[in-house]
Amino acid sequence: MSIDLKTIKHISKLSRISVDENKAEKLAGDLNSIFEFIEKLNELNTGNVEPLTSVAETTLKLRSDKVKSKNLREQIIKNSPQENEDYFVVPKVIE
């Protein structure tokens, strides 16, 4: 299997990372060599194997429904790139 430039464009779009022609060529090369190495997994028959998501052999702990987090607006907005006292600000969304 081979990852072509069209696939690179597609995944760059999904991952919201812009990719120009040069970068796409380089990425395709790298990804192909990485996937060649990943394909090794196809040697294994895993038909009846249960997939392992987490090694933590415990179940999800539940917390009680209490409001603990106070108003952190100032703290949270402080690090945002475009200043505004109340909101996060982003360039206009075009639908």
Partner: protein, 485 residues
Amino acid sequence: MSHITKQSLSELIKNIKDKKLSSTEVTKAFVERSEKSKELNAYVTEDFSAAIDKAKRFDQKPNLDLKLPGIPMAVKDLFCTKNIKTTAGSKILNNFIPTYESTVTQNIWNEGAILLGKLNCDEFAMGSSNETSFFGNVQNPIDKDLVPGGSSGGSSSAVAAQLTPITIGTDTGGSIRQPASFTGIVGLKPTYGSCSRYGIVAFASSLDQAGPMAQNVKDCALLHEVISSYDEKDSTSIDFKRNNYSKELTNNIKGKKIGIPKEYRVDGMPKEIEDLWKKGIDYVKDCGAEIIDISLPHTNYALPTYYIVAPAEASSNLARYDGVKYGFRADGENLIDMYEKTRSEGFGAEVQRRIMIGTYVLSSGYYDAYYLKAQKVRKLIKNDFDEAYKKVDAILTPSTPSSAFKIGEKTNDPVSMYLNDIFTVPVNLAGLPGISIPAGHDAKGYPLGLQIIGKAFDEQNLLNIAYAMEEKINFKNKITDWWIK
């Protein structure tokens, strides 16, 4: 008394407790040496004057009952530290100042330690040589232009060069053990769920684990004792009885069964690694432990599995770096344009590569063939260990397939870089504890490490074996201070 920065953590604590040294003296000594060691590029952020102030305050009212009384230490820049810039080695977080503290670092400060600064690392911990950091390469104190390993390269360099008595790193596929091995120090990756992940910049959530790095096993045990805790803020934190690892440390490992997995004899492994391993087996036997040959049949599939699972999780974990809430933002004509430019300019090449891999293996039509397949193989890898641990108490392997390599040597070949983690990655996939201890030198005098892999939550046993071996190995790191003019 030897020079302050040459003292181990245990010695420093003893001297502070015996009032032979003050925290201020100790802190100043490490600050001074750090100041003289800029060429190593181990620090991303220095917090030296604040550290000295804190040390002075400690000395005014010293609480000597604490486990790390007035001990200065620098930490990997992947741990969020309150009001101190935290970058994860990335441009995208270059200006990020957390308003909160990670649980692991909080545990450390609660025991009296003092932050010296934040240590360089591969960008988002993705790398095996510290070369992916936005803040530049880190030098290995062993030799000029030698990589210190990665991703905790700043950490390994700083401990080996004695810029900090101890440190903490994070290990997703070997990021504590491999740099420890490359720099001749001890590094422990604890059992998944031992140390809270709260406040640690995430790389791959199901694999990430914080752990101690130190000059010797005892220091490592003490630091592990401090950082390991159950944390309600991390849903994958596990509530189990934790030992006083340093107090319960013993070199008596008589009768312990140590497994030697035949699959770790990989093609093209240098003879010196093979010899080191044999030496390790002899040391273990000398300690009275029993050697048992075992098989971990899916070892060869660990790396491909890892390079699906880790990038998949990373592609999602790193989606939050979008220029909206914090960190770097590039100008864009509209929201999508802003996203694409921010992430293209804000992330380095390796991070972008892994995000792409991860996005691809999760994408429609490929999920089953890659991600699901990898999860199934991950199960087989874990089963291998479960089987082995029916027969043995721990497993001994080399830490890495080679000693440290030169800066730039592998940057153009991602796969050869990935192969560095061949012995460490299975441990993360199975969620087990693993420790790397320095065990010898190669022909160039570069350190080589041995890895001991334990049963889940059996860090005490693991540390005991390492402690017993350390005594037999009697390793001396060959560091010439070449970077100090």
